[in-house]
Amino acid sequence: MSRYDWLLFLHVTGAFLVIGGAVMAGVFNFSALRSERPSEVVLFFRFARLAVAAVGVGMVLTLGFGLWLVHDVGYGWGETWIVLALVLWVLSNALGGIGGSREKKVRELAERLTAEGDVPSPELSARLRDPVWLAVSWGSGIVVIAILALMIWKPGA
């Protein structure tokens, strides 16, 4: 196998970790949303942290091997699809970071409520259904899919 093959494989592996991890996070966040007891919310948010770890590793792989591929193949650094992909990569990370910090606060509330008797809480329910948090979390996933589309169509290449 050529160096190009290995670089592409590692780059695509990163993309699969990102999208796969985002799907896993979506499953667990959706499950937390449907949970009533705080202990269940804590459980699902702990699972979501595994998914976020996969996304983090994937983000590093996609960027690192993606930049290497650009250099190796000889694409221009100013090509539309490369610039857009980098901008969206930063945007996706920013949205993921904002969503993650909100999720941490909700998890801490759920942990406190679990310790206090594990009784369903309207406050926890409202925080889980916060439209801003939901928009940021799902928006991050949509941006990742947009990056995938850019990688396939390569506009401006």
Binding site: A22, V27, A149
Partner: protein
């Protein structure tokens, strides 16, 4: 270097194929995590397989067939064979997994169904990455 000279008409089916495969990886990963870390959540396990894993497989497989019909690949290369094996044998495994998970939901006192789901899904996840390696690097 095929990706560098790909006709535009291949892009949409390829996008759907890759998206389906990535969704399948994530859904299968979620199945493994639930089966190992939360074996009592059997309804969630069945729903994850039924509403996410199987639809993702359908998207991956049918989009794969679509792009295969466009590419008209000569001969019978090994990398394509790996993709077909993991894809088609995968459906059998996934259907068996779904049935076992459903059986486990009906028989909550039995532990083996969830363990079986964890093992089969874990093996299939590894197979998906092997297929991804073959489809990406296209070894002879």
């Amino acid at each position: 270097m095929l990706a560098l000279v790909r006709p535009d008409s291949w892009n949409f089916p390829l996008f759907l194929h890759v998206l389906g495969a990535a969704l399948l990886v994530g859904a299968t990963g979620a199945t493994v995590v639930i089966a190992i870390r939360a074996p009592t959540l059997r309804r969630l396990l069945v729903r994850t397989i039924g509403f996410l894993v199987l639809p993702a497989w359908v998207l991956m497989r049918f989009a794969g067939q679509w792009i295969d019909s466009r590419e008209d690949i000569p001969g019978d290369p090994g990398w394509l064979g790996v993709g077909f094996i993991v894809g088609d044998a995968g459906l059998v495994l996934l259907v068996i997994t779904a049935l076992i998970a459903w059986w486990g939901l009906r028989r909550p006192e039995r532990r083996w169904p969830v363990k079986a789901v964890a093992v089969i899904s874990g093996l299939y996840l590894i197979a998906l990455f092997v297929a991804m390696w073959a489809m990406t690097t296209k070894p002879d």
